[in-house]
């Protein structure tokens, strides 16, 4: 329950909010432009919350609700991991953990023509970008960046894919880099692709490294912001549970490449 006067944005910023909370009152914010992100709705002069989560403000005027959920809602420009379900003449049908399957046009690849259509079997994991996301329509994906280059989009071979909440995948992609990935990268070399739809793909030289990395990322879901000391103790814990001593791996310590 909000005891503060609604309309003073500072009172709600970084606080937990639930559907129905009125976070901003536009009547005392005359002559200001504000931008609303996900989870917010305008009803005449009141801005109310529609999703439970943390209310965020990016200065000067962007507001949104940061929430973590299992199902993904497609959003324009998101980089996600999709799984091919079926292929049709014009499109691949891709599961993106969303409300409906997404379409990946067979020509949406670098240098894609009718002559060289890629062949993906059902079950292929793809790193793709959302190019169309309208409510009530299937989302459209692309395997190229805005300039038509492949830019690391495309099928992900080998490795291991697991699912997490959308909130965790957002944290993994945050800048400055997520402390868990950073701590892992200091000791282990691995490759990771994070999709904003709550899918993470990990690959490394040996299966044990893949398992450690995947376990560490999955378990970091419930990890709150804490000091490095705690993080290292926690990491040792994860590694020992996989039968490996943390920092004992022979591979050179390099930074993880985050896509």
């Amino acid at each position: 329950m909000a005891k503060e006067q609604p309309g003073s944005p500072a009172s709600f910023v970084d606080q937990l909010v639930v559907p129905g909370d009125v976070v901003l009152d536009l009547s005392n914010m005359a002559n200001q432009t504000i931008k609303l992100g996900s989870g917010l709705r305008q009803e005449s002069d009141a801005i109310s919350v529609t999703k439970a989560g943390k209310f965020r403000l990016s200065k000067p005027n962007k507001y949104w609700v940061e929430s973590s959920q299992k199902r993904y809602v497609p959003c324009l420009g998101d980089s996600i991991l999709g799984i091919v379900v079926d292929s049709k003449a014009d499109n691949f049908l891709v599961d993106i953990k969303g409300p409906a399957l997404a379409f990946l046009p067979v020509l949406a690849f670098e240098g894609g023509t009718r002559r060289n259509i890629p062949k993906f079997e059902a079950g292929t994991l793809l790193y793709v970008r959302v190019v169309k996301a309208n409510p009530g329509m299937n989302a459209e994906l692309s395997c190229t960046d805005a300039s038509g280059k492949a830019a690391e989009f495309g099928p992900l071979k080998d490795g291991y894919m697991f699912e997490c909440s959308t909130g965790l995948s957002r944290t993994l992609l945050s800048s400055p880099p997520c402390p868990v990935l950073e701590a892992l990268g200091k000791k282990i070399s691995f490759e990771v692709a994070v999709g904003l739809n709550g899918r993470v793909w990990v690959n490394a030289a040996s299966p044990s490294t893949v398992i450690i990395t995947a376990n560490a990322i999955m378990k970091s879901e419930s990890l709150s912001v804490q000091s490095d000391l705690n993080l290292y103790a926690w990491m040792e814990d994860i590694c020992s549970s996989c039968g490996v001593v943390y920092g004992d791996t022979q591979t050179p310590a390099i930074q993880p490449s985050i896509w």
Partner: protein, 226 residues
């Protein structure tokens, strides 16, 4: 039977306007998109939400809003005497409908056209007030699933026994055949979304001011039901 002692205490030691202890837990069902366990005293309910997902039965698809479905059931072990009732009995069909209508009113269905949201509610322990516990659990599960909503619905029951208005009836008070209502409100919007009179015998005399209000509303509901 005496439901309120001369000292003003109920059978389980509560004051007339005191609720039972409530406890909620989110994310109880791993596979569901959103889930919650809600307890009101000894009443325990689990709710799981799947969706928004593609409509299973294409003929039910709505092009301007999401389809909300609800299934209510009671576990066989939820009551004292183990019951074996067929799945689609009248009572659970009716409660399914009540929950569906209440939830539909608070979900922003127009944001998710051509999709379907499934709400499954199961009573694990029944001790009165299952209807309101189910609604509370379903709201929490929807919020956990990240489904856009106008407000969180909250629900509670109230009744009238021994010339005393009682809040949040337990099983013994519920089965005393006094009048009772279940109310669901949108607290932030200050609106009533559900008002249901369950028992039929109304006391016409001796009502306190609070109870008069309830009586007027039940008449209104009867009128609406035709």
């Amino acid at each position: 039977m005496e439901f309120v002692s001369p000292e003003g205490l109920r059978l389980d030691g509560r004051r007339p306007t005191e609720m039972r202890q409530i406890r909620a837990e989110l994310g109880a069902v791993a596979k569901a998109d959103g889930s919650a366990v809600f307890e009101m005293g000894n009443t325990k309910v689990v709710a799981a939400v799947y969706g928004p997902r593609e409509v299973q039965n294409r003929s039910q698809q709505l092009s301007d809003q999401a389809l909300v479905r609800c299934e209510y059931s009671m576990a066989n072990f939820s009551t004292g005497d183990r019951m074996r009732k067929p799945k689609g009995d009248r009572r659970s069909t009716e409660i399914s409908l009540v929950i569906r209508q209440t939830m539909e009113a608070c979900i922003m269905t127009h944001l998710m056209p051509r999709s379907q949201i499934d709400i499954f509610v199961q009573v694990l322990q029944a001790d009165g007030g299952t209807r309101s516990a189910c609604i509370n659990a379903a709201t929490l599960a929807l919020a956990d699933a990240g489904i856009p909503m106008h407000d969180l619905v909250t629900s509670c029951s109230a009744g009238y026994l021994n010339s005393t208005p009682l809040l949040d009836l337990n099983y013994v008070e519920d089965s005393a055949r006094g009048p009772d209502v279940t109310v669901g409100i949108l607290p932030k919007l200050d609106k009533v979304t559900l008002l249901q009179r369950i028992s039929c015998r109304l006391c016409m005399t001796d009502t306190t001011g609070e109870y008069k209000g309830i009586r007027i509303s039940t008449r209104w509901i009867n009128y609406n039901e035709g």
